[in-house]
Amino acid sequence: MSMKHQTPLLDELEKGTFPSFVKEIKRAAEHSDYAQDLLGLLELSYKEKVTHWKHGGIVGVRGYGAGVIGRYSDIPDQFPGVAHFHTVRVNQPSGFFYTTKALREICEVWDKYGSGLTNMHGSTGDIILLGTKTENLEPIFAELSSKGWDLGGSGSAVRTPSCCLGAARCEWANIDSMSITNEITQHYQDEMHRPAFPYKFKFKVAGCAVDCIASIARADMSIIGTWKGDIRIDQGEVKNYAQNGMDIQKEIVDMCPTECISWDGSEFKIDNDDCNRCMHCIAKMTKALRPGTEKGATILLGSKAPIVTGALMSWVIVPFMKMEPPYTELFELVDKIWEWWDEYGKNRERIGELIERLSFTTFLKEVGLEPQPAMVKEPRRDPFFFWSEEDIEK
């Protein structure tokens, strides 16, 4: 198929050594009208420096209020191929593991009903299928469902939970992040498909504090694997690292954020009471150091990207929680948090923003969590010691 539109500005983005999205859209345009007109629309946007997309509205599959994001061109007569260009979110498997057969299934459905363009993966984690018409949504859903796939979250709902590779590929996972993610996904199916909240709610599960999934910056609830007790040290292996050229003082001791490590050339010591379990030393000396044996997770709340208001990082709400099936303690906590958010949250207010507005103190009281030193987010910001009227003797 020859190119329908001239794209001199987009052509510039094909130059250079990096992969180019323009090249990929042009490949798709060889057999897709969607992609042909997508190139034309995008070229026009670059020329006019204005977007020609509208989003939202009334699109979806029956019974679900999430999983499809309506997208329309504001100049459909000029670019009929992208008059509708809806996005379909498909729930990815935990840890992003696929067989080649599974990927082929997805691609076949998408070549049949959509533009053939995908994002692997969206920032929440879903498989993103880019560009289809309203009348194709039900057939897409039916075919994907028949092959065992389901739609992910969108709108004011639980977004598709995601996690790191966890114990499947990483020896330092303190929790089974893939199992937890799967359990959360199954447990909150209704909340994921039928938007019931003031705004979105994201779960991300990281096996350890290295946080490969960046949960601390991107999830309303970050579940990060950790441990209780002392870091296990193999002094012989520490010496091997030193003998093999590692500058332990510079690379490990001086990099410890709580300055709890010492090394005199023969013995490596950690003051575990001061350790904040950041994993830096363990990740650098994998043969010499191992986490303690009592494993669990730290639960944090409230991070988000800057959409309505500024970016927030997650805040510790439970320093240590055992993470064992059926995860009852976690689900009970989540339900309490949602109840409070549902009661007081304004439209499009994330849980972190609600805490900022009504105070962390109020949040702790309402959810029934005891204030603890580990909750102090930053110096001079420790509002956890408070007195109510009844505490004061008059």
Binding site: R62, G65, A66, I69, D190
Partner: protein
């Protein structure tokens, strides 16, 4: 209360709000549960049946809302 009656109450609430205020699912659950002295879970189950039947739909306009589908 019979489920059909409850569904009717929910539908009428959404219908009455049309053009005035967009209702979120939680608005419906709170209002109907309080007015009828029911558990939110009962209201939710009835609302879900309305959704599954296509009598009400979710829409997205800067937030997710429950609305009556437009007439073709």
């Amino acid at each position: 209360m019979e489920k059909e009656e409850l569904k009717k109450i929910i539908y009428q609430l959404v219908e009455k709000s049309t053009g005035k205020k967009k209702l979120k699912q939680s608005d419906i659950l709170k209002k109907v549960a309080a007015d009828q002295g029911l558990e939110k879970s009962e209201v939710k189950a009835a609302l879900r049946e309305l959704m599954d039947a296509g009598e009400l739909i979710f829409t997205y306009f800067g937030g997710s809302f429950v609305e009556i589908p437009p007439k073709e």
